[in-house]
Amino acid sequence: MDALITAGDRREDLTARLPELAREARRLIIDMAAGPTGCHIGGSLSVIDLLLAVFAKFGSGPPHAVVLSKGHSAAALYAALHVHGVIAENPAETYGRSGSLFTGHPNHKLPGIPFATGSLGHGIPYAAGWALAQRLKGTGGLGIAVGGDGELQEGLVWETAQIVQAKGIANFIYIVDVNGGQNDGLLEEISPVPRLRERFEAFGFHVRELDGHDYGEILHAVEPPPDRPLAVLARTVKGKGVRAIEGNPDAHYAKIPEKTAEKWKRSLS
């Protein structure tokens, strides 16, 4: 497949084409799940709309940095970067295979991926450090971390929120993919992360809550306030787009037959 987007495309045009880009990205994610290794399909399908919208709005390079901190959703990141034309190769063709850079968690050797994540929590302080650097350089750049609600169980997240507050790092956006699931089941049954809005507000963040599959809401919400860091709590559905697995916490990781993949891809709206 040729890249759907070229360098000459305007940002406004990209935002209008998000539904089309999302359909293609979801096809790629399903193809990766149908490959020899399978992939983290549930969280990839929940976060893909957020990634596509953020890339459409901010691009994938300096002065901004977009870091997928919930790195197990690498399939979504690769798909998003591919449909945006940042990664030329089709990731589904070699995902997880010997000699491929498309590993199961984001590979920093690929373009558009500044930091290898997947060990949860690390992408958030990285983005905060990038944001601090942009402030020191006066570029107006942002540090943007896209994380997950399961990741909020990691102490690193709250260490970073503490530092961001203490150092007044206002050019920092933390987007949480709130899909309610984690590896072994539902967050609510394993280790809930209650009162998120209040928590982030207590750390000095401006908080916006939204539907993480509504492009209009996402594009509007990720506009940073001038004086405070921003936390975006995006309600999403694990497995979004594939009826057979939507909302099913068991769809965290899946390896599916080719026939199933074809059926799921046809069913994408």
Partner: protein
């Protein structure tokens, strides 16, 4: 009066930052009040609080944007608590971060077990791509800080606490990456002492002074690539080495040199396997662990025949 290595670090970094706007100084609340870097460069000084792992990851973001962040905390909290961040950001991704780890070894003295770190070299050596420097005394520490600032490589610099030492004389303009020799003839030595770190270098220098024909090789860099290079040079000097290092034997410099020099006899004078659970000064805690000049004398005598006592 020489500055302690951790004070020398602060002083040298502050001076370097006057001519290098890329340098950032980060502390995890253990740099002390009235930090000299903060006084001179307040816009580039960040005490991020007690958050070591997040601090290293933030430093990675700063490094990616072109800054040269120096991150300082105690060795135990850097090498162990932030180990995963160091592995990822520095070991695997090679981000240009410099760690200045004070309280290396048991220099915390009476501060006790939690504040000692006799495992850091083992942890850091296993990360492969991180330069590890263990300078001795003020001048050598300053030299290492300058080398770290000028290098694009990630660095772990092991410092101590309050003792101030005068560094061994080094030829003008030479790098701390070169082996520094003392005493004895260079080729065919019956026994070559190898010192790593401040206390080790002090007692090796003393023993070398007592025995003028004993060869003493002082190493500052003990990361894997440096030791591989040193091994080529060392094997031309002697077939028997006694490595002196304030560290566990396991995973220390002696253990790695023994792999690199299979044809040689490599011994270790180290801090053994006991936990440092008692109070006392730095020297007293070392003595409790069996590390020091008397033990080194006995060991050298046992290994090297007439070269010992």
């Amino acid at each position: 009066m020489s500055l302690s290595s951790r004070e020398a670090y602060k002083a040298e970094l502050t001076e370097l930052a006057r001519n290098d706007g890329r340098i950032i100084c980060m502390e995890a609340d253990l740099g002390g009040k009235n930090h000299v870097f903060q006084a001179d460069h307040p816009d580039r000084f960040f005490n991020i609080g007690i958050a070591e792992a997040a601090g290293i990851d933030m430093a990675a973001g700063l490094a990616e944007a072109g800054f040269v962040p120096f991150f300082s905390t105690f060795a135990s909290f850097a090498a162990l608590r932030a180990a995963e961040s160091i592995k990822l950001a520095m070991g695997y991704m090679g981000k240009n971060i410099k760690i200045a780890a004070a309280y290396g070894g048991v220099s915390g003295g009476w501060f006790g077990t939690t504040h000692h770190c006799l495992e850091d070299i083992a942890v850091l050596q296993s990360f492969q791509h991180v330069r590890i420097a263990c300078p001795h005394g003020e001048e050598e520490t300053r030299r290492v800080i300058r080398e770290a600032a000028a290098s694009p490589e990630p660095y772990y610099i092991r410092l101590a606490r309050n003792d101030g030492f005068r560094s061994l004389e080094r030829p003008t303009g030479s790098s701390a990456r070169e082996i520094l020799y003392q005493g004895g003839k260079r080729e065919g030595a019956q026994l070559c002492l190898i010192s790593v770190g401040e206390q080790a270098t002090e007692i090796c220098a003393r023993l070398a002074e007592e025995n003028p024909d004993l060869l003493h090789a002082h190493l500052v860099y003990v990361d894997s690539p440096s030791l591989k290079r040193y091994a080529e040079e060392l094997r031309t000097l002697s077939g028997t080495f006694l490595v002196v290092e304030e560290h566990r034997g396991t995973g220390g410099t002696a253990s790695y040199l023994s792999l690199l020099l299979p044809e040689c006899r490599v011994y270790s004078h180290d801090c053994g396997e006991e936990w440092p659970v008692y109070g006392g000064t730095h020297a007293e805690v070392l003595e409790q662990l069996g590390f020091g000049l008397p033990g080194l004398r006995r060991q050298a005598a046992a290994i090297g025949g007439h070269h010992g006592i």
